[in-house]
Amino acid sequence: MKTLLWGALPYIAVVLLVAGTIWRFRYDKFGWTTRSSQVYESRLLNVASPMFHYGILFVVVGHVMGLFVPERWTDNVGLNEHTYHLLSLYGGTAAGVLAVLGILMLLYRRRTNAPVFKATTANDKVMYLVLLAAIVLGMWAKLAHSSVSEGYDYRQTIAPWVRSLFTLQPDIDRMAGVPLLYRIHAVVGLLLIALVPFTRLIHMFSAPVQYLFRPYVVYRSRDEGQLGARPERRGWEKSKL
C-alpha cells in the first residue's frame, strides 16, 4: 500500500499528466479552452475568478518553493526555519484563503445561476470535487498543524520525498511519519495532477504569455493544400496545425 501510494502513484500521475497533455494537444485542440461562462453571468465572476486565480497561482508558487527548494538553500541565504514558517504561514494562508473563498464563490455561482449550472458537465463536477478537496485539505492540514510559534516542518519529510521521486528512487519511508491530513492532501493533489489534461483545467498550460512579444496584427497565408471548405476530419485523425 505504501509503495503504491508513495512509490507508484506519483509516477502514474505524472505519466497521465504528460501523456494526457500530448494526447489533448494532438487530438483535441478544439476542446482546449477555458469554456468561459462569462456570457451567462458576469457580476459574481468578476470578483470570484480573479480572486480564485490569483490565490491558486500563489499557492502553486508556494508549493514549488516549499517542495523543490531544499531547506539547505534557504538556510544558506539566511532564512531560518522559523521565519520560513511564518512566511509560509501568513503568505500561504493568505493565498489559500483567497483561493478557498474564490472557489466557494465560483461553486455558489455554478450551482445557483441556472445557465451556468446547465453548462456544467459531469467532467466539470468531478474536477471541482477534486479541486475543492485538494484546496480545502491543504488548508486544513496546514492550519491544523500550525501555530505562530511553530508548524509542521514538511520540508524535512514531504519535500525530500518529492525530490527523491526525480532520482527515480522514491524515498518512501520519509512519508511514514507524516500526519494523516497531509497524506490525504498529497494523494488528492496527485489525483488532481492526473486529472488536469482530461478536464477544462488544461487551460492553465496555454497561459498566453507569448502575447507580450508578438506584433499586434497577425497575418497568415492560406493553407496551400487546402482551398475551399476543409474536408471533415475523422475524430481520431490528428489535426493539421
Partner: protein
C-alpha cells in the same frame, strides 16, 4: 510600398428594404447551431436604434477598438498587453447574453400532447440558455422599424452624441435644429436600415487583442478569421471588436465570427448575404492597399480626418507603378485585373460615394456604405416639391429628415462634409438620369455642381441602379489553376468511383451516408452554372419558356 489585396464590400443603403433575408440566409448557412443561437454574423438594424448588441457603439462602456495614447500612438482601448493579461481571469467588458438577447424556442410538445379540452393549448417560450420557461422581452430586432422608439430611441448612442454636441453649441442655431431633428414623434421621425457584417478591418483590434494569436488576417485576401484549434476562450476579442462582430460560442467556448463566406469567395462566388440580398445592394471586389501606411493612417490625430487617411491607404490599380509593385509583392495577375474592375474601388475611391462605418474606432473598416438619400426624396415629395429636381434636392439635403449630423456620426466621425458630398452626388444622379429618361438634354451644370460629368454620372448610375450581377461582384478566385477541383469541392478528393455500389465498392457515397435511401444526385458544375445563368440573365432562357 507594400501592396496587399483585400476583398471589400460596399452596401448601398438606399436600396435596403430591411427584409432581413441576408441575416436569415447567413444564419442558416453558418450559425444555426448549439451555442450560436444568439449569433448574427449579419444583422440588419434600424437606425436610429440601439443596434446589436444593444448600444454597442458606446465605446466608453464596451472599450472596443483603438485610441491614441498621450504620445499619439495607437493603443487598444481596453488596455495594453500587460493589463490585458493581468485581467484575463474575468472580463467585465464582455457583453452578457442579456445585452444581445436570450434566445428561446417554444414548448411545441404541449401543443401535440395536450389532452382534449375546451382550452386551446399554448406553446410556452423556453429559454435556450437555461431551458426554463421565460418571458420574451427582447430579441435581435425588437426595435425593428423604430418599434418602441418613443421609449428606446433615446438610447441610441449616436442620437445621444448628436444631441450632446448640439447642447454644447446651444448658441449655434443650426446645431439646435439638429437636436430637434432627431425626434421620435411619429410625424417627425426618420429611419433607415443598416445591415452589418464584420468589417474585415485593415487594422483589426480583434486580432490585436487575441492573447493566443489564434485570430489572423489572411495575407491573400484580408479576410479576418478565428483559428478554432488555436482559440483558447480568453474572450478578449469580443471586447476588442468595436463593432461587436466577434461572438462567443457558449457551447464550444470558442470565439466565432463572420468569415466573409471564404469558401465561396475562394471559388469566385459572392457571400451568402450578398447573393441572397433582395435589394441587390451589396458589392464585392478587390481593393489594393499599402500595408506600410495602415498604422500611420490609423494614428491620424483628428478623428474626422480618418476617412481621408484611409482613402490615402488605398492604391490606384490604374497606376502602372502600383501594378508593378503588386506583381512584385506576389499578388496574382487576375487579382490586379479584378482590382481595376472592382466596383468597390469605384464606389469608394473614384466616385467617393461610399463611406466607412465609424472610422473613429481606428480599425480601418473595409465594409463601406453609401448613405441613404431616398428619405429626402420622399420628404420633398410629401411637401409638394418635385423630389427629383436637382435644386430642390441639393437644398433639401441640409434640411432633410435624416439629419446629416446623425449620418455623419455614423460614417465620418461627425464630419458632415463627406456625407453631404455623397448625397449630392446621388441627388445629381437622379436629376441627370431623369432628364435622360425623359429624352431631355441633361443640364451639364448639375453634374458639374458635384464635380462629375455626364458620362461619369451615367457610369455610376449603371453601377448603382442597373447593378448587374457581374458588375456587383468581381471576385477573383483563390487559384485559377485549381479552380476545377474547387468548384466540385462538395465532392471529396478521393476517387469518385470509390463509394458503396461503385466499382471501388468501399466507403460512403460522395455526399456521405444517404440514410439508407438511393444515392443523392450529384450536382455538377454544369447545373450550377445553368442555374446561375438563369438567375442573372435579362431574358428567360428558352427551355423555361418551352415548358410553360
Amino acid at each position: 510600398m507594400r501592396p496587399m489585396a483585400q476583398i471589400a464590400m460596399v452596401m448601398n443603403l438606399d436600396k435596403c428594404i430591411g427584409c432581413h433575408t441576408c441575416s436569415v440566409t447567413c444564419k442558416q448557412a453558418w450559425t444555426n447551431r448549439n451555442g450560436m443561437e444568439y449569433v448574427w454574423f449579419n444583422n440588419v438594424e434600424t437606425r436610429p436604434g440601439q443596434g446589436y448588441p444593444r448600444r454597442y457603439e458606446d465605446q466608453e462602456k464596451w472599450r472596443g477598438g483603438w485610441e491614441l495614447n498621450r504620445r499619439g500612438a495607437l493603443k487598444l482601448k481596453n488596455g495594453g498587453r500587460i493589463k490585458s493579461l493581468l485581467s484575463i481571469f474575468s472580463n467585465p467588458k464582455l457583453p452578457e447574453i442579456k445585452d444581445y438577447y436570450e434566445p428561446w424556442t417554444y414548448d411545441y410538445k404541449n401543443l401535440t400532447d395536450a389532452p382534449l379540452g375546451d382550452d386551446y393549448p399554448v406553446a410556452e417560450p423556453r429559454s435556450l440558455i437555461d431551458g426554463k420557461p421565460m418571458k420574451v422581452e427582447w430579441s435581435s430586432n425588437w426595435d425593428d422599424n423604430l418599434g418602441g422608439a418613443p421609449e428606446y430611441g433615446d438610447l441610441d448612442p449616436m442620437v445621444e452624441k448628436v444631441r450632446r454636441q448640439a447642447r454644447q453649441a446651444e448658441a449655434d442655431e443650426q446645431a439646435r435644429q439638429a437636436a430637434d431633428k432627431v425626434k421620435f414623434a411619429f410625424e417627425q421621425t426618420f429611419m433607415f436600415y443598416l445591415p452589418r457584417i464584420c468589417e474585415h478591418c485593415l487594422n483589426p483590434s480583434c486580432v490585436s487583442s487575441c492573447p493566443s494569436g489564434a485570430m489572423y488576417k489572411r495575407a491573400e485576401d484580408g479576410i479576418v478569421l478565428v483559428d478554432q484549434d488555436g482559440c483558447r476562450g480568453w474572450r478578449k476579442c469580443v471586447t476588442g471588436c468595436p463593432y461587436k462582430k466577434v461572438y462567443f460560442n457558449h457551447a464550444t467556448g470558442k470565439a466565432e465570427k463572420c468569415t466573409l463566406c471564404y469558401p465561396r469567395v475562394e471559388v469566385g462566388l459572392p457571400t451568402v448575404c450578398s447573393e441572397t440580398c433582395v435589394g441587390r445592394l451589396r458589392y464585392l471586389g478587390v481593393i489594393l492597399y499599402d500595408a506600410d501606411k495602415v498604422t500611420e493612417a490609423a494614428s491620424t490625430q483628428d478623428e474626422q480626418a480618418l476617412y481621408e487617411a484611409q482613402l490615402g491607404v488605398f492604391l490606384d490599380p490604374e497606376d502602372a507603378g502600383v501594378r508593378q509593385a503588386a506583381e512584385r509583392a506576389g499578388i496574382p495577375y487576375d487579382w490586379v485585373e479584378a482590382a481595376r474592375r472592382s466596383p468597390v474601388h469605384a464606389l469608394i475611391s473614384k466616385y467617393k460615394v461610399a463611406l466607412p462605418l465609424h472610422p473613429e474606432y481606428r480599425t480601418m473598416p473595409m465594409v463601406w456604405y453609401i448613405p441613404p438619400l431616398s428619405p429626402v426624396v420622399d420628404a420633398l415629395t410629401e411637401t409638394g416639391h418635385d423630389g427629383e429636381d436637382a435644386d430642390n434636392l441639393f437644398g433639401a439635403i441640409d434640411t432633410l429628415r435624416i439629419p446629416l449630423e446623425y449620418l455623419a456620426e455614423i460614417f465620418t466621425a461627425g464630419d458632415v462634409g463627406p456625407v453631404r458630398s455623397s448625397l449630392t452626388k446621388l441627388a445629381a444622379m437622379r436629376a441627370h438620369m431623369r432628364a435622360v429618361n425623359l429624352g431631355e438634354r441633361p443640364d451639364r451644370a448639375i453634374a458639374e455642381a458635384v464635380g462629375m460629368d455626364g458620362p461619369g454620372i451615367e457610369e455610376m448610375y449603371r453601377l448603382l441602379a442597373v447593378a448587374k450581377y457581374e458588375d456587383r461582384y468581381v471576385i477573383p478566385t483563390a487559384a485559377v489553376g485549381d479552380a476545377r477541383r474547387l468548384e466540385e469541392s462538395a465532392v471529396p478528393d478521393t476517387c469518385s468511383l470509390d463509394h458503396a455500389d461503385g466499382p471501388g465498392m468501399g466507403g460512403d457515397g460522395p455526399f456521405g451516408q444517404d440514410s439508407g435511401g438511393k444515392q443523392l444526385p450529384l450536382v455538377t458544375i454544369e447545373n450550377f452554372h445553368a442555374a446561375r445563368k438563369r438567375q442573372t440573365s435579362d431574358e428567360e432562357p428558352d427551355d423555361v419558356r418551352e415548358q410553360q
